[in-house]
């Protein structure tokens, strides 16, 4: 093929190796005797060096943490950052001030509690009525707070402990007990559970 013409052009580039090697011609394809560019060899040795250091760091010298330790360390840091929000600040109790109740209502809407308990807490096919005096899991503040917090996955009640702080849960629970309970909305679902006052 064109090995002759290509040689002429290549000679202009003054590369001492740009001669087609003898005996290196295959179906017209020639091969040049150029050494590999130095930088690619340097890169190769560099990556080998990095790999050896990597092995040393994590295994032979045992400086780096393994996967399980890494998780524990990072998780501990995470908990440290968000510590305040994750631990109950004080003993939670029923809040009756208007501000807290209004906030509780906002959270009730935002968390889509109405999807299962109805817009006004009247209950629907999925969740029970929150406005009457019959309660399946108790009607004390602690009962309601716990139910919102931990849920009951078998019956379909979502646990909100991973989405709401203790304080916010207390506000929703207060909203349920102060505003919703005894509100007699229309279309209320039939009572479930036991009387609880």
């Amino acid at each position: 093929m064109g090995s002759d013409t290509s040689n002429e052009k290549l000679k202009d580039k003054k590369d001492p190796h740009d001669e087609v090697m003898t005996g290196h011609e295959y179906d017209g394809i020639g091969e040049l005797d150029n050494p590999p560019p130095r930088w690619i060899m340097a890169l190769f040795y560099l990556t080998i060096g990095i790999s050896i250091l990597y092995g040393a760091y994590y295994f032979w010298l045992d400086i780096g943490e393994n996967q399980d330790q890494q998780y524990l360390t990072k998780s501990a840091k995470h908990d440290e950052i968000y510590k305040q929000a994750n631990t109950p600040t004080a003993e939670m109790k029923l809040l009756t001030d208007e501000g807290s109740i209004a906030e509780g209502k906002a959270i009730f809407t935002e968390m889509a509690c109405s999807a299962c308990h109805g817009l006004n807490g009247e209950g629907n096919a999925i969740g029970p009525n929150l406005t009457d005096e019959y309660w399946i899991n108790g009607c004390s503040f602690t009962n309601v707070h716990d139910m919102i917090k931990n849920g009951n996955s078998i019956k379909g009640m979502t646990a909100f402990k991973d989405r709401l702080t203790e304080e916010k849960i207390a506000k929703v629970a207060s909203y349920v007990l102060v505003s919703l309970k005894g509100s007699n909305p229309p279309n209320a679902k039939a009572p479930q559970g036991v009387i609880c006052k």
Partner: protein, 814 residues
């Protein structure tokens, strides 16, 4: 010496070219269809045969093995004869190779759509087809090495080295990854389990990329690029160095597909480091290609085939840098399970593999048909539309990956996941999927332009099926003279020895990883709580495999806080010991399911939810893109094969008790009726024989064993039982018991303990878990979380539990 006449076989080359074009159209079209499915679930067409989970493997297999495979064979059969100045070794083997390969492709498409799959990515085909593939591959190898033996050229050229590595590499990979135990003509279980299966599969998967999509293409590049550019190869020395280093290192890098997953740290470290070391050997190929073009860049401007080759080689360089970067653990947490990987493989597949194939065909077809290309203009149009299409395809996917990753790991100031619902992150990236459809369609249009252009070219020209040429006879040189001939030069004229050396170099990496994973016990620490699948769960698991659920759902929680908060505890190696095959997945289009059975965990959904969700996912989540699986409620569980499955699992080492196969069907029916009763309580009437019941059972098995106390079934119960002789019966105790009952128990068992829905009546003489004081106290203490009975040991004192038990047995039961 007088030249000998050689007759080249052009007919086989032509057949492979035609097959490349036909399967290429199919593969790309199927790709566009699944891109549509991911954006608009209606394109799943509501049929089991056309859901994404079944069609996606058709796309990947069609592109890799049908389109790319046939293109490789076309390129190899043409170049090899000319590089070795001989006809292929055997016409019969050539014929067998071509026709059986096409048969395999047709069988693949049909069986995959029917749901026959091993679920191992790019190796989904079931065992009879695996055997067929092995036969064809051996035929190809014999034909190829045979051709090198009868050659008329002293040395084998670099392109041939790569062809030989391809044959040897794929042979090793295919055989080792296909060890499976057949239970019927269309179903087998992988001999490996869990983490071992994962290591073998991704050693295969990664090296399928290496030895099907890289080494043969480097071989093609070494022939067609200098041919089209009419330039000599830049550096013979570089050819040698990057060839041996690449084929040696590649085989080790497989575990980079399993970073941060349930795999020993040492295996992951090999995946990371060997990927990093692969940068230079890969770039060696790119550099040797690009520097070969020195002085020929003016031709690149004019000729579409060279443009394609240049873009291909450049994309190869980019992808082989990106790949090692993605193998760095920190980067991998972003790129794995997101669209980054999809973008990466499509740049490599469309630009590198596509580019080489297109460049080769634009050069080869006119040559073969002794005419000029029908239209240079059309070819250039193809080039630009394809290049633009690739960018429009890939860039939005990178964008999507970063967006989703940032959303997944975002926390609110209070320390909660900002987007606890996976679907929110998916909804956010759906617009990017529209761009993917556009980019893919452009690529397809370019492809069609090429097919038209080449068809016209073929019509205008005429091919000589048996082409004559002349070449001198080969004179054997005999033993090596160390002063005159280097080791490698010597090896280049001993092709069989060359192949053996390549085999040894290739075998090392896989052996070092797979043998310890399979035979060294400490690499797979067992977890005692993990129990084999019940027959119903196993049936469900096989349906999960068959429907290709792994194409969208992973079962692998990585040790990141944003994963454990979202899904639950991170996955451990010992959890997967009974998984034949493993189902870790590689892309999350839907949420991870590893913890779907953890009662009280963030991923748990009750039976009714699953039922409704399988029937119509959009009813449960309006924005879900999951296809409907309503036929699961119509199709029966195959009961006849259940005992066979149990016996197969026993053979694979799953510790079912002796004779369990005989009672397996009864066990299955019993568990199914429990789920049906559970559904009934939620107002759903279901048939216990249907597949949907098995799927629900499987969903509820996922992660259950390590999440609940060891005391979760009757066999374990015995050891943990507290023996209770008498219960407190004073009025005060009974009153206290009544009060607790009202608070905690009545919601399920009714205020009078008469039971409701699936929750049993406590006032009659029928007791599911026993009616003695000991039984009742233990049931209340430890619960039966799987059946819905909660454990109360953390909420009640021992005395309170006894009081409740006493109230139940003395006051209620009358």
């Amino acid at each position: 010496m007088e030249d000998q006449k050689v007759i080249y076989d052009n007919k086989t080359v032509k057949l492979f070219i035609l097959a490349t074009l036909v399967w290429g159209i199919v593969g790309v079209l199927v790709g566009v269809v699944i891109a549509l499915q991911l954006r608009f679930p209606a394109f799943n067409f509501g049929l089991e045969f056309t859901t994404f989970g079944r069609v996606r493997p058709v796309h990947t297999n069609a592109i890799i093995f049908a389109f790319v495979g046939n293109a490789i064979f076309a390129g190899v059969y043409y170049s090899m004869q000319r590089l070795l100045k001989t006809r292929m070794f055997s016409d019969l083997l050539s014929k067998f190779h071509f026709w059986t390969w096409q048969l395999i492709i047709v069988l693949a498409a049909v069986t995959l759509l029917l749901g026959f799959t091993t679920s191992k990515e790019y190796a989904e085909l079931e065992w009879p087809i695996d055997i067929l593939i092995a036969l064809v591959w051996i035929a190809f190898g014999v034909n190829m090495i045979g051709t090198t033996v009868i050659r008329r050229v002293q040395h084998i050229y670099a392109a041939i080295w790569w062809y030989i590595a391809t044959f040897v590499g794929v042979a090793i990979l295919h055989v080792v990854n296909s060890f499976e135990l057949p239970i019927s003509l269309f179903k087998s279980y992988s001999l490996y389990s869990g983490a071992q299966d994962a290591v073998v599969q991704w050693w295969y998967g990664h090296n399928a990329v290496a030895f099907f999509l890289t080494t043969p293409f480097l071989g093609l590049m070494y022939y067609y690029l200098p041919k089209a550019a009419e330039r000599p190869i830049y550096s013979y020395k570089l050819s040698i160095i990057h060839f041996w280093s690449l084929i040696f290192l590649y085989m080790w890098a497989g575990p980079h597909h399993l970073l941060y997953q349930a795999l020993p740290d040492w295996a992951q470290a090999l995946g990371v480091t060997f990927s990093i070391m692969l940068i230079a050997p890969s770039w060696g190929g790119m550099i040797n290609g690009l520097l070969t073009l020195r002085g020929a860049w003016d031709k690149v401007r004019d000729k579409a085939e060279l443009k394609f080759l240049v873009v291909a080689v450049t994309a190869y360089g980019m992808s082989t840098f990106e790949g090692p970067m993605m193998s760095i653990k920190f980067v991998n947490q972003l790129t794995h399970f997101t669209d980054w990987t999809i973008g990466h493989v499509h740049i490599a597949g469309m630009a590198w593999n596509g580019g080489i194939v297109f460049g080769m065909l634009y050069w080869l077809v006119p040559k073969l048909f002794r005419t000029k290309l029908y239209s240079e203009k059309l070819a250039n149009a193809h080039f630009w539309i394809a290049t633009l299409g690739i960018l429009i395809y890939a860039i939005p996917l990178y964008w999507s990956a970063v967006t989703q990753w940032l959303m997944l790991r975002e926390y609110t100031p209070e320390g909660f996941l900002a987007y606890p619902n996976f679907l929110e992150t998916l909804t956010q990236i759906l617009p990017m999927y529209t761009f993917r459809i556009l980019g893919g369609t452009m690529f397809m249009i370019g492809f069609l332009l090429m097919v038209f252009n080449l068809a016209k070219t073929m019509k205008a020209g005429s091919m000589v099926a048996q082409e004559e040429a002349y070449a001198p006879v080969l004179v054997e040189l005999g033993a090596r003279d160390p002063k005159k001939e280097g080791m490698h030069r010597f090896l280049e004229r001993k092709s069989v020895r060359f192949s053996i050396v390549a085999f040894i170099v290739l075998a090392i990496g896989g052996a070092v990883e797979i043998i310890p994973m399979t035979f060294v016990k400490s690499n797979v620490p067992t977890i005692e709580a993990v129990k084999p699948y019940t027959p119903l769960e196993l049936a469900g698991r096989d349906i999960y495999v068959s429907e290709g659920c792994y194409n969208c759902h992973s079962q692998m929680v990585r040790p990141f806080r944003w994963e454990t908060d979202r899904y639950g505890e991170y996955s451990k190696i010992g959890e997967f010991v009974y998984d034949h095959p493993f189902q870790w997945g590689s892309r999350r289009t839907g949420p991870d399911l590893a913890r779907a059975g953890v009662v009280g965990g963030p991923m748990y959904k009750n039976a009714a939810w699953h039922y409704n969700h399988f029937m119509d996912p959009q009813k449960m989540n309006e924005q879900s893109i999951m296809p409907k699986y309503s036929w699961l409620a119509e199709k029966d569980i195959d009961l006849d094969i259940i005992p066979v499955k149990i016996r197969a699992m026993q053979k694979l080492g799953v510790p079912y008790p002796d004779g369990f196969d005989k009672i397996a069907v009864d066990d299955l029916k019993k568990q199914a009726s429990g789920i049906v009763a559970d559904l009934k309580a939620s107002g759903i009437t279901a048939d216990p024989n249907k597949q949907i019941i098995a799927m629900i059972a499987y969903m509820h098995k996922l992660g259950r064993d390590i999440s609940t106390p060891a005391v979760n079934d009757s066999t374990n119960m015995a050891t943990a039982k507290v023996v209770v002789e008498t219960l407190p019966t004073t009025p005060a105790d009974l009153n206290s018991g009544k009060e607790i009952f009202g608070k905690l128990c009545a919601s399920c068992h009714g205020p009078e303990g008469k039971g409701q829905a699936t929750f049993p009546n406590l006032t009659d003489d029928v007791w599911i878990h026993g009616g003695t004081p000991t039984d009742v106290v233990n049931t209340i203490t430890n619960g039966y979380p799987v059946k819905g009975m909660l454990p109360f040991k953390s909420q009640l004192s021992d005395q309170q539990i006894k009081q409740v038990a006493s109230f139940i047995l003395n006051s209620l039961k009358k």
